[in-house]
């Protein structure tokens, strides 16, 4: 986003997580500014989702701390919103009722929650789909609903774990532009996981490359903003240099 204020909403400090006495991720340090789009780019299976689970409070790290707006929240759930590669929509609920799930959990009355979700349908280009069930929607549409649900929980810190990983290449490109358009409107802060370099460059303000065993952050890249209006700009010489630099670290 062009309008970054330099105030970190999320800070991860020296996080280490192990499975079966073997460190999966080690000494992870990162931050996410208000309104920023930051990508964690790394090879498959290196521990990116593990890191997200720690940030979301689903896993408690062996060492290290998570701060949200300067308050420590290590191991606490219910603070950041989380979106998975699988849409994980509830087949028995309509689009609107899937959207209200996080509000319901927070104890908001169904009627009020539905109104809030309906207000957001046009923003997410779902205005004519509110009463459909998930199995009436295409894969791309389902991810839109999933993103809507993620947003309904919170836009302050949104963790998106390979949200377009299960989509075909064309839908994927469309969803990337869709996500950019939505973020312009809702002004959320996003931490994004992918192992697709072009996706990372197109979407991000900054990129952390994570790699190794145990996985750690090997380098941080800033993405120049001026060329990034469309995916076609990805061939510009400056960005292709960035692309080569990133590739070297993977």
């Amino acid at each position: 986003m062009n309008t970054c204020q330099n105030k970190p909403v999320l800070k991860v400090e020296q996080v280490t997580k192990e499975y079966n006495h073997k460190n999966i991720i080690e000494g992870i340090d990162l931050y996410l500014n208000q309104g920023e789009f930051v990508t964690i780019l790394g090879p498959s299976g290196c521990g990116k989702s593990t890191l997200f689970n720690v940030i979301a409070g689903l896993l408690t790290p062996e060492t290290g701390k998570i701060f949200v707006n300067d308050a420590e929240v290590t191991g606490r759930t219910g603070i950041v919103s989380y979106m998975y590669q699988k849409d994980l929509l509830l087949p028995w609920r309509t689009v609107v009722d899937n959207g209200i799930l996080p509000l319901e959990i927070r104890g908001i009355k169904k009627k009020e929650a539905r109104e809030k979700v309906r207000e957001m349908l046009p923003v997410f280009e779902l205005e004519s789909d509110g009463d459909k069930y998930p199995n009436q929607l295409s894969g791309g549409m389902k991810q839109r609903v999933s993103l809507l649900r993620t947003y309904m929980f919170s836009k302050e810190i949104m963790l998106l774990d390979e949200p377009f990983g299960g989509l075909d290449a064309i839908t994927r490109l469309k969803m990337q532009e869709y996500l950019m358009a939505i973020l312009k409107k809702i002004k959320g802060s996003v931490l994004f996981i992918t192992h697709d370099i072009d996706e990372a460059i197109f979407l991000s303000d900054r990129i952390y490359v994570i790699n190794g065993s145990p996985a750690h952050i090997v380098e941080e890249f800033k993405v120049p903003q001026k060329h990034k209006e469309t995916q076609a700009a990805l061939v510009s010489s400056e960005l292709s240099q960035l692309r080569r630099d990133i590739l070297k670290r993977l």
């Binding site: 689970n53 919103s81 927070r106 069930y133």
Partner: protein, 257 residues
């Protein structure tokens, strides 16, 4: 074309059953089997019509026992499945016992029940509970445990309590499984009541069949069997209809697929 195929699919079992009935009627009418050994379908219908009010009175008793037993079994299954799902210890301890309990023949247990609870309605309901409890519980627990772990994690990340995860995610996910179990159980329920009554009592189709058999009125025995079959099938489709009404999204899937 698909519609035509559908109609044919529905007709096949009807034609097959009709063929058997005609064959049966012929076998008896041609005198290949004596009437007092095997009454013909027409004899059975006639017996049913002539003894309608008496058979219906006994059916009412059996139906009542079956339904009470079923409701008790559903309640117990819910409790048991929730306990097994929430506390893995309970599942580890109880599940094998549940499976073992199914291997004990009901015919052996039923007389004991009569011994313990007398010849009233209680032992009949007990038998129904015994036969219905297992299929409902096993299906329900399987449904609860097959919920996508990522979905539960997602809900947990939203700060949901265990209770919210159960009511909003796990239980609705398990509903199709629950209904699979319920459809099996409901067909067992009438049979269970009849088995209970078979050992003695004042009323019910089992008692009625026992008396009819002692009087060598095989047409009445078969008439009772016919009622049991129709009642059980009716209950099965009743549950299937409730399921379709409660789960409209499943229907959408069928229509699309």
């Amino acid at each position: 074309m698909r519609k035509y195929q559908n109609i044919v699919d529905r007709l096949i079992p009807i034609v097959f059953i009709l063929a058997i009935l005609i064959l049966w009627q012929l076998v008896v009418d041609l005198g290949w089997v004596e009437r007092y050994v095997l009454p013909s379908p027409m004899d059975i219908i006639k017996a049913l019509v002539e003894n309608w009010s008496e058979i219906m009175m006994h059916t009412g008793v059996t139906f009542f026992e079956g339904m009470v037993g079923l409701v008790v079994a559903i309640s117990l299954s819910l409790l048991m499945a929730i306990a097994m799902d929430q506390y893995p210890m309970v599942k580890k301890a109880v599940y094998p016992v549940l499976v073992m309990s199914q291997t004990v023949p009901i015919i052996v247990i039923a007389p004991l029940l009569a011994m313990w609870f007398g010849f009233g309605i209680a032992p009949k309901i007990f038998v129904v509970v015994l036969v219905c409890f297992f299929p409902i519980t096993v299906n329900l627990i399987e449904g609860l445990q097959s919920v996508d772990g990522e979905l539960i994690n997602l809900t947990r990340s939203m700060g949901a309590s265990k209770r919210q995860i159960f009511t909003k995610i796990k239980f609705p996910s398990a509903l199709p499984y629950f209904f699979s179990g319920l459809k099996i159980a409901v067909t067992y329920s009438i049979m269970g009541a009849v088995i209970g009554e078979w050992l003695g009592g004042k009323a019910g189709l089992g008692v009625y069949m026992l008396r009819a058999r002692h009087a060598f009125a095989l047409d009445l025995v078969f008439a009772s069997i016919l009622v049991i079959v129709i009642l059980s099938i009716g209950l099965f489709y009743g549950i299937a209809m409730i399921q379709r009404a409660l789960m409209p999204w499943e229907r959408l899937k069928e229509e699309e697929g």
